[in-house]
Amino acid sequence: MDAAVVLPKLLALAWLLPLASFTLIVFFGPRMGHAGVRAGQVATGAILIGCLISLYALFFVWLPYSHAFETPAEEAHAAAAPDHPAATGDEHADASHGDADHADAAHGAEGHAAASHHAPIIKPIAGDWYALGEFGSLRITIGYYIDSLTVLMFSMVTFIATCIHFYANGYMHDELHDVVDHEVKLANGHHLHRPGRFHRFFQYLSLFCFSMLGIVIAGNIAMIFVFWELVGICSYFLIGFYIERKSASNAANKAFIVNRIGDFGMIIGLMALFGSLGTFAFGDLTREVDGKEVTEPGLFSLVRSEANHHHLVVPDGMVKAAAADEIAAGAEPTAEKIAEWRGETEPKQVGRYAYWLLVVAGLGIFCGCVGKSAQFPLHVWLPDAMEGPTPVSALVHSATMVAAGVYLVGRFFPVFVPEVLLVIAITGCITLFLAATIAITATDIKRVLAYSTVSQLGYMMLALGVGGWVAGMFHLITHAFFKSLLFMCSGSVIHACHTNDMMKMGGLRKKMPWTAYTMLAGCLAIMGAGVPFSIGLSGHYSKDAILAQAYSFKDSNPSFGFLFYVAALGAVITAFYMFRLWFLTFAGEPRDHHIYDHAHESPKIMYYPLVVLAVFAVGVGWSTTDFSWFGLHHLFGEFGVRELLDQAQPVGTLEPTHGVLLENLKYPSEHDSHLDKYHITAELVAFGTAISGFLLALAMYDYRILSAAEVRAHFGPIYQLLIHKWYFDEIYNALFVQPTLFLGRRVAQFDKQVIDGLIDRLAWMTRGVAHLDDLIDRYFIDGLVNLTASCTYGVGIWFRGAETGKLRQYVMFIVVATVSLFFLVSLILAGGP
Amino acid sequence: MAEFLQAYLAPWWLAYVVAALVHAVLLINVVAVGALIFIWLERKVSGRIQDRLGPTRVGGKFGWLQTLADGLKLITKEDLMPEGADGMLFRMAPYISFCASFAGYLALPFADNWVGARLNTAVFFILAVLGLEVFGVILAGYASASKWSLFGAMREAAQVVSYEVPLGMCAVVPVLIAGSMDLVTIGQMQHGWFTNWFVFHDPFTFITFWVYFTCATASVNRAPFDLAEAESELVAGFHTEYSGLRWSIFFMAEYGSMFAVSGLAAILFFGGWNGPLPITEWLGLADTTNPVLSYLGNFIGMLNFMFKCVFGVTFMMWVRWTLPRLRIDQVMTTCLKYCTPIAAASFLGATLWTYFLPGGLILPNNAYGLVREGQLIDGPYPPADAEGPSKETANEKTAGTGDLISQVAGEHRGRD
């Protein structure tokens, strides 16, 4: 089976199944069983089948040498095989472009030995399913761009979504009958009483899964944008699921509006790319035009063209866009001229502009990711979004939707110039620190996890920003598993206690052991627990990779060393607040006996998914190389999530680069971080930070050697700062919300007084005219009509006498009429010629 | 027969009249003597079922003259008529009932071609005529000027009209298999071993038979469907006000109808005059060229047929003395909710079965296999009626629909 044929079909199927489920539930939801209980099963079934298909698709890329993404011409260029001794650095060229005429093996002399032992970076499968329209050079299509990252994300999203669907079937069972919402008080003092919305929940979940998968599989930026917005609207629906609650509807609005800000930047970025490069597609598309096969280069090939050995070079289109003045003045944009323009990187020269254009595009796209992934300064919506039901938090706000931002940064990684990457790294760094500190003081169990999410997303951004593409993506995958696990565990706790406040819990371990120990696994995973240099939980590997990457970046750019230190500090805080959460919830003595007495383990349909996810949270980071002492890699080759991500590493991004605007900015190759000098340090640091955070939490919240209250009192101002979330909401309120409201009121006043007055005057005049019209209508036209009617009436009265209503008389009429008719006819016939 | 008589009787039309009279007398004897025997039989059967002996004295052994004695008693009774009665209708009613019941025998063959009048649409005719019996009952009920009688008559009317639907549907199934409504043809088709009987043709006919029998019981107004004369509720139902001879004529009509529907069942489902084994053939009596032999064969066939009818009537008696009477709503439910759908489904099933497996359940079944092919039956059966109008007619009669379909199909092919 040719993967290039099979994979698009498989993934399309998995992608469209949730849409089908959504459509079904939209139309038939309320009629599906009692109160729509079958809707849950339909949605779950759809996503389960999608998951199975995705996992099956994963097998096409699972085996590192399956040649899944290689074109058929690949055999001719077997030189690119990873065991090839001549590590001359042309692997990428060969492996990714099978075009024999063009393959220029002589080029690309500078290679890097580090890459040689890795799986080949192989060409993604790109193409179109369906063209929506063609407007000149603009083709809007539903296309795909599939590499191992896509398949991996598909598997991850569908798998977690499946677990969450099962879990939600149990969690949302309250919605199966009429609900009394105790958090909503109506004007008459009663609590809100409303019908259950079970089916609607699953309808949104299905649509959400469809949208998320759409982002993952999207083959062009138009599609990305469409599904990006779909994800946004789904998140709006789901956060505002309890729409009657003021807090929930506010949170939904907040999430939506904050995302809008990010998306505005994103549109700028996408348009900058499209406007200058003239294509939406990511990958190279081959299609038939007038009987000839034409290959149109996609975005990534334009930015990192083969001719430039996949280095990031400002593409021709951007140079032409930057040189608009020169072209308008009559300069012919020939190839030599463009090369000349591109070279001029002095201030106020064309090349400089062109480079800036690339920076703007990158920053714009990143802006969207900032919104969606809740990075500083747009992180404020995510904690509020915890108003949605917990399965939503688990799916939307931990594992998938916020991951979309990170995924997009990963997808556009080839387009980002070093300066943009630096911005990304710094943003990530700030975010991870801010969020982690806020998480220390939060007492709402879901908010702790929400801030933890923001913080971990910061880690991913940091990793990507310091050039660690694989590290960032790896953390994305592992984090998805343990964070959805943590959220679902917290949901289970909330389900049992009917409160979010950790201060009212405690000692629940005895009441709900399954939840407690699966959550412990999740905490250990996010902390990065493990034995250095041997084995650990999934977070151990991904976090180590990030720290190592940051450390190697620090080595190249000492002035940005703070990135590494903040990340390490963040690791301490992470471990601290996670175990604070766990100890407060599950350990110690119960603090609220009423709640404790009523607590109970969740039903099986809720904790079975927890166990499944716990297993993955522990093991998803493993690869066969981690068990080399066991010889597994001989048996199965080298594979694991990391190896799969290695396959998908964008072409050319492994080269060390440096900034153009900031000339001191140096980016090492990602493989450098595997060097022992960075790797060992990072691993030790990670272990040390995790342990210290854990011990601190142990001391404060389990053994109570340190009193939390004392610490709080001691650091009063800082505590205030943290408990108010660094005053972000207040600042935004003062800076943006209040001025907007003020402006709005002024405009309303203007509308009411000036415009309404004008309209009133007009209406008065119209009324006068209408009055006149009315007189004519009444006396002249009505008179005519009445005359006709009275004539008709008179005739009718006259004829009425014939209708006696007597059945027998009618029979007589008929007979007499028949006889006389015959008689007349025969007379005429007899008298006629 | 008329032709035979013509040779001896001077005015030729007298021959026809005499022949008709002979036929009529023969048939009326079946009804009248049959009623005598059946009333005696019913008494004996009910006695045995209720663990007593029944009549034992009159006429020596078994009390076999009991009915005759009863009849004599009835004749001598006073003929009463209520004051408010509608005289004409009151007098007409028993005769209408009896005529309807009796007219059915006109088309009922007692053996191969031993039939009063061989009709193309005999099945239909018998059902139609038997359905008319209800008129007598209704008119009797009305004319008696009695509430009980009227109630009984209303029940009868509702019941009979309803039960004619499934009854007709069941009767159509054998007609469909035979491709003819001529009872003689239908009987001839079941010639041979008992496996050729239509009741064993396929599972659906088997079901159909039971539905037919239930509906027939209901349509001749026998227990457990005898709502019209429910003595525990309506005194005696429609014949409350009748006495003497008129009353006995109603009874004759009832037993006549029982015999007629049993006979119809016997021909439609149980091979009519054909025994379970082709004994007449083995004895060489099936040879129609020899009048004496064929007469003997037909006589044996008639005995066969009579036995089946008597068995059917006895079966109805058995049912009567076993099952309690239904309520009127239960009667209607049985008809409309059970019998009709089952009959419809069986009809459909039998249609499909006949379409896919024309030979029936037990293959090979040469008899109608040949008919299906549209060929003239000249193997096992000589042309059915040697004295019929013409050979062509016989051909056409037995050919059935299959032949016509193939004709039409051929025509269409030709046109294309």
């Binding site: 014939a802 006696t804 209503g805 059945l807 | -």
Partner: protein, 113 residues
């Protein structure tokens, strides 16, 4: 003309049909009982049926000029539809009887002009 010895023709049947038809019409025109009117209708339909069958009979007219089977088919349809008509008419009558406690058609003149 001796009816007993001469063969009958279509006309004879038509006369019977005409008499039945007219009897039906008169019945409809004179009976006050709704069911009587209904019976008149049945008679009218039957009179028509006699005509159809007579025209279609091969015993009366040569097959070439006769209408053959069509006569019988139309008669069949008439019979079946008459049954349907009777059912509906009876339902209407019973309804009328339920609402007005009478079957006198002269009283059903609420729609008079």
């Amino acid at each position: 003309m001796n009816l007993l010895t001469q063969p009958v023709g279509v006309s004879h049947y038509l006369i019977v049909g005409a008499i039945m038809f007219v009897a039906g019409v008169v019945c409809m025109a004179t009976k006050r009982n709704a069911l009587g009117v209904l019976m008149g209708i049945e008679l009218v339909l039957n009179g028509a049926n006699v005509n159809f069958v007579a025209f279609g009979s091969v015993y009366l007219r040569p097959e070439v000029t006769g209408i053959g089977l069509d006569g019988q088919l139309v008669a069949l349809f008439v019979i079946v539809l008459a049954a349907a008509e009777a059912a509906v008419a009876l339902a209407i009558t019973l309804n009328f009887y339920n609402n007005h406690s009478t079957v006198d058609v002269d009283q059903a003149d609420e729609l008079k002009g």
